[in-house]
Subunit: 414 residues, 4 copies
């Protein structure tokens, strides 16, 4: 425990805790978050990949990792054993870590409630009956069910702060709706019983419960203006959308280089291969749409030429398991119109890339709660493919903004 | 001609000109600079790859491109015809451009004087007898010969400002010498007749002639403290070393991404294949040493872990001609110790990547002369593998510094 | 002229010639065939890429290249100037070759007749009115028009042998039809006025004209049983389908390696990027279907495991022009279930890869005509993605079969 | 047990066994051979990667795998635990396999004798004192020591046949010597006490012991003519050199494709990265030489053009561990002199690639012993970078030769 962590630690202990509610609580990322969190507190896992544990973010007055309690919601049957076994077989989770954290995993499992199935996914096999039942309720009843789970979790875990993290599968793409334009319109839609995406309902319930909300998926979550109004009204922080862990990270690190050098990118084709459940869900064009859009738009913002030809594919390659592989081809023009190329292949474990960022975002959201920050956490833009705060997609500029935030907090907390 | 260019343009015309002296004046890069410069002024070549023609550098009060006169020095026999033919055959220089600029090329050829052969290279075949003769002179006589050429060029071209650009082949590596520690010690060494690298002699002569000095090569040039003293004494600007055009550009754009994300780079192996004269010269281990050193040191500065294993190879692959190809393998560790990888292949025309940067640096050096800036031009760090001003190798931070300079100049010039 | 070529050369001269009718006569491949052919006969182009000019095929009793006359059919307006200019700009066709063959190109242009537009493509812009008019005729009239062109060409060119090569764009995929099951059924369908794919009509007309038929495209051509019957009835040779020039060539060279080593290929994802007209046509899913099918089926035949996951994409990347680029990812399992990978990137000029193979196939088809071979030329399987003769897709086995043929012909011709 | 295996199985049992003596008995490959062998007999490991278990080699009358006894020699201290732990950590050996085979591993360890240290490596740290002592003996005494070990192993294991497999580290390169030209000259050199490479001494001792000899390394082994004479004199089979498992396998599978298509390979640069002990040993230029030579010569034989520029690098990249990665760049010329390229990256576990081939070679050598074949086993050429039998390096042709052998043996054994 660092000095600043100690300062933030509760004197009496039991009530100074933060609850973390993982929606999609037995997916690969959540599984890695659970084992990783306990591995970190027990010193079994080094902090590699954890931005909040490295300069310049390391010294902020975070609540100690040991004073967080993890719980969540899941639409599928089973316990943490199955995803953990799969992640061990795929050489992501170390076997000794899983063995060492078995009691923590069981305790976590006991805190996982049935999730809320998105309307478009009702009818899929392998779902919890209760999740399906909830999927078919009216929106007010759905919210009430979620709120009930959140409040029970908070009470039982004796937490004074709450962070809800959205990690469920990519849902079917939804066009922006008039109902989302204002909180008033949204409330009216709920009253009228008009169905809403699960991610939006979770954001609504989170804010009702006084929680911070982190949307690590491309789903709508708290992005509708109605939800943003609600967060401000309640004085709660939130951030999203869509964790930037691999190919898009590379794009936002590399595209500025071409712009700075006045090299004209003609084409950028990105081929993403995924073998985990995420890949399986995204093999359905309906679900893929939001993801592809996020991955593509960054280039249009970062590269000035209007006739850029960009192409993003996401393919399901089951043998890869959690090890996503992206092959990108960048065709660019230099002086004299000379055509040149850059190709890259990025191969990494999807969950091992995402999990530490989720932990980072929980810590930053909890810090924001403790500091009374509300609304969009613009300093988290570097974590997202599609930051809700807008601004540049340039990863380096986003990282500089995060460093500035850290400097400011440090100055204020001295 | 842009508005700012017009403002800077001379009223009387003939005397308000800048002379550009290219050392290595018929190498591939110089050839591209000559044709590219005339192509730009005649509107035959778009400004792709020219940093000074794009935001945020586009609006600075540069002297118009048409008011520069190009000349240079060369140790090998022949005229611009041979390198131009080779670059056309390799699809770098467009045939119609070469045809359209034939009279300008001939005029340039007439302004190329014999170069000064580096001592270590005396005896190589295919050299001008006069270059070899000069290579064997004492250092004071060598300087006098170069100074004589520079002054004649300036007089004949009726230039009021002068920029010397060092573009000659990579010379044999020289360890730092006691003679270089101060201007006084250096003058004593010259008096004592102790032989000096050609690049250092050119820097010395340039400053004696009142010129700005740009070192685009890994050679010593103006890097010794003695030369830096001389530049300051004369109030002259200079910058270097070693243009950052390909693999190292990629390294300095990508390594910060790993650092920002707390991902631990375990190994970075970079395989560079070059087919032009540069590759041939670098296939000699003695000449390769300075280049490899510059390409490697950037990673050690940008990546925090001490046990990073980095490896840089430069191989001569003649069939590539001017199209250098780099294949890099980056092995890194994420959360749970998961080992991941990034590979990239960068394939581009060495000369078409370098030439616009040389033109940029001439414009920036000339702007500095016009503004009375002296000493190291720290804002040019993004152009170099081994910026003399030190500071970070992070390409994005360097680009931000260049943008700040542009903003300041713009503010001052209004 | 080699000795064997001299032997085959006509004594009287004028009447011992072979006419070559290129359907798609001003596409990129045909353009390269025309300039390449004349470049070869004039010694301006080396025989690199020409299988019939290298061991073990070099010594067969081919008719000399100078005794072939090229003509063809084209549905789009214009002359050879436009595709030649584009191919020069893309660094495929050398400018001096185009200049040296200008009169031959003009003569060829004069021998190009309007093509027969496939029914599905009637209405596309930029088409010759006559091609569109023909596209709308009944099948018997269409055949008559083509036959008329072929006979006029043969007469005017004074050729004693004729080879028709199908090089037109990929047409919309057609499911096998009952009408194609026998020649009798097909004749009845023609009589009934049932519309047929253009490639099938050309094959029919070719056989009626006594020509050999080479189908270098994935289109149906002479693959229906009805057409194969006709070829046998007339004693004419033919071969196809779909030239194997790039990624599929790699697949059929590499997949056998995995099989020989008992390594289990789990997934093979192939991403093809094309920038020429072929790429544009294939960006339409309807046209893409036949191509993708041919590229995929080879793996299923060469790799024994039933649960192989294979994926083929073809994307239009306009900046590439004629330079197609394929990036493949092969995931395989070795001993202990260890997962390993092979990735490759193949980058080459589509037309420069295809044109010499077309010339090879014309020479082999003409040789077959001269030797009285009829029906499928099974020894040409190595040239095709989808050889009509069936058999293995193993490129090495196919090459061995071609070498055996060469040995047999040599033995017989001594 | 297949039917043919059953047929070959001994009626009485105990004496119908083959002893396998692994030189380098606790290196990574041997470790995988030991666990793999027991995993195969116990049905814990599928036969993926085992050529003798797949068509067309599957049905030959091999002795059943369960009737082989493994032992060996090792120069370093320790037991199988250390390499097994490392291979588990690197995700090569499955943990459950190691657990299941612990008693077999211990029994194997008890059968491992001290090895013979190559003279050039005497003085290295971490070596068994007895291995170092043996390394300093005269050659006749060295042979006697090895022979003693072999005879004791054979007696204790009650084997009627013996196969010695050379798997020790790459030794310092040795130029061919006059002493090796004939068995007589070699015997005289031994009598004169002239020092010999360890691999040659092992081959000599193996033949004296009546064993077959398999050399999986680039070391000299049985390649000197003197040793080949001895093998023939004793009527014993042998094969080598240098297992073809990765980049060279790719080269010999791909280079024939370029040759068949008359495409002119201009340059082939191969960058090999190794992280295991093999990589460490090869990071010494003296040891690297033999390996690089074998990897390079295959291209010169397979590609006809004399001015091919080929380059092979082997670099030690410790983070890779057993997972060797090769990045190759192939630059080739097609029609019209168009320059094209192929790049590939091969990433696989060195030991998991090698171990099944070693098992295959033991089975084939044992089969040869049982059939009375003597001298070079030319049908094993596909297994080696540098097959002693000479002939083509074309992997496909080599595989065809192996298939022919299988067909012949099957015919004879019916």
């Amino acid at each position: 425990m660092s000095e600043s962590e100690r300062a933030n630690s509760a004197p009496g202990g039991s009530k100074q805790r933060t609850g973390v509610w993982l929606v999609g609580g037995r997916g690969a990322i959540s599984t890695c978050v659970v084992y990783g969190w306990h591995g970190l507190t027990q010193g079994l896992v080094p902090s590699t990949g954890l931005v909040t544990a490295a300069d310049p973010l390391a010294g902020l007055p975070y609540r100690p990792l040991s004073e967080f309690v993890l719980g969540g919601a899941e639409v599928r049957a089973g316990d943490l054993g199955a995803p953990a076994a799969e992640l061990m077989r795929e050489n992501v989770l170390p076997e000794n870590l899983v063995a060492a954290c078995s009691s923590e995993a069981a305790a976590y499992d006991a805190r996982v409630a049935p999730g809320l199935l998105d309307a478009a996914d009702v009818g899929l096999p392998d779902m919890l009956p209760e999740a399906a039942r909830r999927g078919a309720l009216g929106p007010r009843e759905q919210i009430a069910a979620v709120l009930d789970d959140l409040r029970r979790f908070q009470a039982e875990s004796e937490c004074d702060r709450l962070v809800v993290v959205y990690l469920a599968s990519t849902e079917a793409a939804h066009e922006p709706q008039a109902d989302w334009e204002s909180l008033e319109a949204f409330e009216a839609a709920l009253d009228a019983g008009r169905s809403q995406p699960a991610s939006v309902l979770y954001a609504y319930a989170a804010f009702q419960a006084g929680a911070a909300f982190v949307n690590f998926t491309p789903n709508r979550g708290a992005s509708p203006r109605a939800l943003q109004e609600l967060a401000l009204e309640r004085g709660l922080p939130h951030c999203g959308n869509d964790g930037k862990t691999g190919e898009t990270l590379m794009k936002t690190a590399l595209a500025p280089m071409f712009a700075h050098r006045a090299l004209k990118v003609l084409s950028w084709a990105g081929y993403n291969m995924l073998g985990n459940r995420d890949g399986q869900v995204l093999s359905d064009p309906l679900h893929r749409e939001s993801k592809v859009r996020n991955k593509d738009v960054v280039l249009r913002e970062l590269l000035p030429n209007d006739d850029l030809h960009s192409h993003v594919a996401i393919d399901y390659v089951p043998s890869l398991g959690d090890w996503k592989t992206a092959m990108d081809f960048v065709h660019f023009e230099g002086f004299f119109g000379a055509k040149m190329s850059l190709q890259f292949t990025w191969a990494g474990s999807d969950s091992a890339l995402a999990a530490p960022l989720v932990i980072d975002l929980v810590r930053l959201a909890d810090l924001a709660l403790s500091r009374g920050e509300s609304g969009l956490l613009a300093h988290t833009a570097s974590f997202f493919k599609s930051p809700l705060s807008g601004g540049t997609h340039d990863f380096h500029a986003q990282s500089a903004a995060l460093a500035s935030y850290a400097k400011r907090v440090l100055a204020e907390s001295r």
